[in-house]
């Protein structure tokens, strides 16, 4: 994913490697031989990817148009239908889950980008210990999401959770944090921001470090203050890096599953039921594989469409800067 931006840059090194190789015998034959070797080398990987990922993706789309019956030892398809999509489109919970997932993605990504950029700007100024700070930021990134979900669940506990205690001390009474819709959604977002902001900060920091210091010196000579320098110089130069971080995070956030599944179990009620949680529940708890596949397929479709739209906009932006 990190390479999203590369794809959009057409001038891949056009010079074919074979051209530089001292050719023995007829050039064409040698080239063809190397190309054949290339396919031989990549075939095992491509076959594994095709069988294990592409096939289920296609299967999933087919399944979303079928009446699926799961039996003790396997499954049966009992005729083609549009019913699965009908079921989800007319379903209040699906519509809520769609809205929730979109809203959740927008808010968490926005907060994480702002905080992550702020942290990166601070770390960039550090002269000592920047390496250690980066290492520290990597720890939440490497933590199993389920673990962070359990940890926050414990800290949100209404009778002895430390966060509950802190809120009490600050005069918020005795809130049952995971018990009401709004506070549960905020609590979920806070846990997400804690785990993923460091990841955004590292990407932005790496982008910052690459910027040339000449531009800053020029700004200093011109007497620009810190705020102006950031908006006029740093931010435009950082835009590709930030765009990449946004793409990364949006894709991840849209598939949100681990955190609500463990931290809030999708509740209270359906308040934190994301599309992935809904699809999982439909399939593995209610054994409604048809509608479940419809939820899953529509989610995947939204992700792919969003990704393509994003790359389009982003490409246009890069193009206009290039002039």
């Amino acid at each position: 994913m990190a390479i999203a931006e590369r794809v959009e840059k057409p001038p891949l090194p056009p010079e074919p490697p074979a051209a530089a190789i001292p050719l023995i015998g007829r050039p064409d034959a040698h080239r063809r031989k190397l190309a054949r070797l290339g396919w031989m080398f990549s075939a095992p990987a491509l076959v594994v990817i095709a069988v294990v990922t592409l096939f289920p993706i296609v299967f999933s789309v087919v399944m979303s148009f079928e009446n699926v019956n799961v039996t003790g030892s396997g499954y049966q398809f009992n005729g083609t239908t549009l019913g699965n999509y009908n079921v989800i489109l007319n379903n209040q919970t699906w519509r809520y889950a769609l809205g929730f997932t979109v809203l959740y993605t927008l808010i968490t990504v926005l907060v994480e980008i702002i905080l992550g950029t702020a942290i990166a700007l601070v770390l960039e100024r550090l002269t000592h210990g920047r390496g250690w700070m980066m290492a520290l930021l990597l720890i939440p990134w490497s933590l199993i999401t389920v673990i962070s979900a359990q940890l926050w669940y414990y800290m949100y506990d209404p009778s002895y959770g430390i966060i509950d205690r802190i809120l009490h001390a600050l005069g918020f009474g005795n809130p049952v944090i995971l018990g009401t819709n709004t506070s549960a959604i905020i609590a979920l977002m806070v846990a997400d921001v804690w785990k993923t902001t460091p990841f955004v900060a590292i990407i932005v920091l790496a982008g910052l470090v690459m910027l040339s210091s000449d531009v800053y010196e020029a700004a200093e000579v011109d007497g620009a203050n810190g705020w102006t320098t950031f908006w006029r110089i740093t931010f435009p130069l950082l835009r590709p890096t930030i765009a990449l971080a946004v793409l990364f995070r949006v894709l991840q956030a849209f598939g949100l599953f681990d955190l609500p599944f463990v931290l809030t179990q999708g509740g209270p009620g359906h308040a934190t039921t994301s599309l992935a949680v809904l699809g999982y529940r439909a399939m593995f708890q209610d054994l409604k594989f048809g509608p479940g596949a419809a939820v899953a397929t529509s989610t995947a479709l939204l992700v792919v469409l969003g990704c393509m739209a994003f790359l389009r906009v982003f490409k246009a932006q890069v193009g206009s800067e290039g002039n």
């Binding site: 190789i21 990597l138 804690w194 681990d258 792919v304």
Partner: protein, 280 residues
């Protein structure tokens, strides 16, 4: 700029920069410290918000490994993650080398297709995978996770490795060719050592992804003997009691190896996270 002014007295130590850095460190580290100290709290102390365990006890660690099958979860996670990473690196090096250095046609569409696959949400494929595995009797087995983990992490690994292979000077290979080494041998003993950082990056990303994956592990391997660490930790306890102390003891044990790995290879991780932004 403000930074270049000489600072005197307390201003040298307490300024916006150090305050912001300290806040960042606290924000990241306090929840982690809370997890570590809570793992040493006994059954009474865990149900309080006391800052430190009173008394300190290792009973939770004992519980995790005796009363619960945490050692089994660790074994499962290690076997599955190591096997999937090995497969990804072996197949990924070959494909990355081919796509980076050999004159194949239609490379770009292929690379874009790989990219699309690597962003596909797992929820979209678990239903068909589950049904197929049910039919061929793979549910609750190691291969039920090794194969999907390998396949879903291959595209990103191929991308990273390809980028590294692109940057290696071509003269190296020519020497091998002139010496009459076989293509496989050229890759293995001449090109691969040059691409070592790329292999580390791809390896650590794949391993971390396998180690933390939850949705597939929960769907395919829910039987106690085949649970990985995330599934084990999510399903610890019963509906009525959540044994937080034991959960955190297990969590600390699970977090230490991966945190150590990430800290040792932090340069590789950072370069992997930013390979698009920096090299693009």
């Amino acid at each position: 700029m403000a930074l270049k002014k000489t600072r005197h007295g307390w201003h040298r130590y307490i300024n916006g920069l150090t305050i912001a850095t300290t806040l960042t460190v606290l924000f990241v580290i306090l929840p982690l410290l809370w997890m570590i100290t809570s793992s040493f709290k006994g059954p009474k102390s865990i149900a309080t918000s006391d800052l430190l365990p009173n008394p300190w006890t290792t009973v939770n660690y004992h519980e995790a490994f005796t009363h619960y099958s945490f050692s089994r979860y660790i074994l499962n996670s290690v076997v599955i993650s190591v096997a999937a990473t090995a497969i990804v690196l072996f197949l990924g090096v070959m494909a990355g080398y081919a796509l980076g250095r050999l004159p194949m046609r239609n490379k770009l569409p292929l690379m874009v297709a790989l990219l699309m696959i690597s962003v596909f949400p797992a929820i979209a494929v678990i239903a068909p995978m589950y049904l197929i595995m049910k039919q061929i009797g793979w549910l609750n087995s190691y291969q039920a996770l090794i194969l999907p983990y390998a396949a879903f992490n291959l595209p990103f690994a191929i991308w990273i490795l390809r980028n590294y292979f692109l940057g290696i000077p071509k003269e190296m290979e020519e020497t091998g060719r002139i010496d009459g080494a076989s293509p496989l041998r050229t890759v293995w003993s001449i090109v691969l050592p040059q691409a070592k950082p790329g292999v580390f990056t791809a390896g650590i990303f794949t391993f971390t992804a396998c180690w933390t994956e939850f949705l597939m592990a929960l769907s395919f391997n829910s039987e106690n003997n085949f649970r990985t660490i995330p599934v084990g930790i999510a399903l610890f306890g019963s509906q009525f009691t959540v044994p937080f102390g034991t959960i955190f003891a297990g969590s600390c044990v699970a977090a230490v190896p991966i945190a150590a790995l990430v800290l040792i290879f932090r340069k590789s991780v950072v370069s992997g996270l930013t390979s698009g932004a920096v090299k693009g």
